[in-house]
């Protein structure tokens, strides 16, 4: 399958990319690693008339310790997130989850910013950064703004990003010794999760987000609130689907997904409490 024809421009900086996208309008798309966009274009589910290749903007590929959080450039590849010493020390949940995205070949090309900007509820990193309370930094013609992950996801493949804005940085708070677990339930190793759970826990505090349990990644606030009030793990996990609205599809029914979410949240919190 070959994508429909499009024009192609290469940007050498974020500013140039934003000026190009402003020039060509909402029918232009940014191309980073291409591992979400190109499959959609091959299937004609996306048909942009202009691709702005940001894959060579090298100064957006970094992982930096900046005190209370880790700053990750949007063009950092999954493989670099997975193996980063800084992240393994300060946000191991994110490194681990990045190691579960697709397969090695996909992780050599796909980027954390691409995955988040694509806003697929079935992807691992949107939910994981949501669980970690990340902040996303986006840049547009009028400058930069910060968006809390909790306010970023607006609907299926829809985010708060405007057509002329580009995600440039992901800021992840340091986990400060919190226990953590990433649970991904799928039938084949490289698949998207049928249901996934990213969770961390410190005494009396927990963060839990769900993969593929609705039209956006879902923050399971009922579970966190229950843990904060001293509920047992199994009582808290029973509320896993309170904020979710999972779909019924070939892989699983809504009822099955809800059951799976409570099982996986329980397992995740148990593992994170060890």
């Amino acid at each position: 399958m070959i994508p429909a024809a499009f024009d192609y421009k290469r940007a050498s900086s974020a500013a140039e990319a934003i000026s190009l996208v402003s020039e060509f309008g909402s029918d232009a798309k940014f191309l980073a690693g291409g591992h979400s966009l190109l499959p959609l274009m091959k299937l004609r589910l996306a048909q942009p008339s202009m691709l702005i290749d940001i894959g060579r903007v090298k100064d957006l590929s970094y992982i930096k310790d900046v005190g209370d959080h880790i700053a990750i450039g949007a063009l950092t590849r999954h493989m670099d997130v997975e193996t980063s010493k800084v992240l393994l020390e300060h946000a191991p949940l994110l490194s681990h989850a990045a190691g579960h995205v697709g397969d090695a070949q996909v992780r050599h090309r796909g980027t954390i910013g691409g995955s988040i900007a694509h806003a697929d509820p079935a992807s691992d990193l949107p939910a994981t950064t949501l669980a970690l309370g990340a902040t996303y930094v986006v840049q547009g013609p009028k400058g930069k703004r910060e968006i809390a992950a909790a306010n970023f996801y607006k609907g299926f493949l829809e985010s708060d990003l405007a057509a002329d804005e580009m995600l440039i940085e992901i800021r992840v708070p340091k986990m400060q010794g919190a226990g953590w677990s990433f649970q991904k339930f799928n039938r084949r190793a490289q698949d998207w999760a049928i249901v996934g759970v990213a969770a961390w826990r410190r005494k009396g505090e927990a963060g839990v987000a769900l993969v593929n349990m609705g039209s956006t990644p879902i923050l399971a606030t009922s579970v966190s609130n229950a843990i904060a009030k001293g509920a047992s793990i199994s009582d808290a996990a029973a509320m896993a689907s309170n904020e979710a609205d999972p779909q019924n599809d070939l892989n699983a029914s809504t009822v099955y997904r809800k059951h799976l979410a409570s099982v996986l949240v329980r397992r995740a919190l148990e593992a994170a409490s060890k």
């Binding site: 399958m1 070959i2 994508p3 429909a4 024809a5 499009f6 024009d7 192609y8 290469r10 191309l31 291409g34 591992h35 190109l38 499959p39 091959k42 691709l51 290749d53 894959g55 493989m79 697709g102 397969d103 090695a104 070949q105 996909v106 050599h108 090309r109 084949r188 190793a189 490289q190």
Partner: protein
């Protein structure tokens, strides 16, 4: 759109439509048909090549994204008629049945050993999660990769 790509050590200059996938550039423009197209949806790994030394799926890349890069395909592994040790290991351990997945498996396996020279069996199985063998010949494929790792 002009592209310059070094493929198996040889520089190629061409003019491609932006929508040309790297795998089609390799197969149809350069005639390197060793790289197969299997699923065409970045699932099966038959199209795996090395881009600047790392395993990637050439069906999910545009040729223009490879501009300036160094690409190795299955045809570039043998040196002076002598097979790459991974190819030898696949041959000696019968790591193939129909052979369709083999070029991608070999490229992915070499990439895996570059990143993890002495993998366990489980690490080989996880490391090759992006490559499907529809003959289900995984047992001997894993055996081949472990043999190549221990021969190093």
């Amino acid at each position: 759109m002009k592209v310059s790509v070094t493929v198996n050590g040889k520089e190629h200059h061409g003019d491609v439509e932006p929508r040309t996938l790297l795998v089609h550039y390799l197969r149809e423009t350069l005639g390197l048909t060793g790289t197969n197209v299997g699923c065409d949806t970045s699932s099966c790994g038959a199209c795996t090549i090395h881009l600047n030394g790392e395993a990637v799926k050439s069906c999910t890349m545009l040729a223009v994204q490879a501009d300036g890069a160094s690409v190795t395909t299955i045809e570039g592994l043998a040196k002076d008629g002598v097979m790459h040790p991974m190819q030898t290991a696949f041959m000696e351990n019968h790591g193939l049945q129909c052979g369709y997945c083999t070029p991608g498996m070999v490229m992915a396996a070499i990439g895996l050993l570059n990143e993890n020279p002495k993998p366990t069996e489980e690490e080989v199985r996880m490391g090759l999660e992006g490559n499907l063998c529809r003959c289900t010949g995984y047992h001997n494929i894993v055996k081949s990769v472990l043999a190549a790792a221990s021969a190093k």
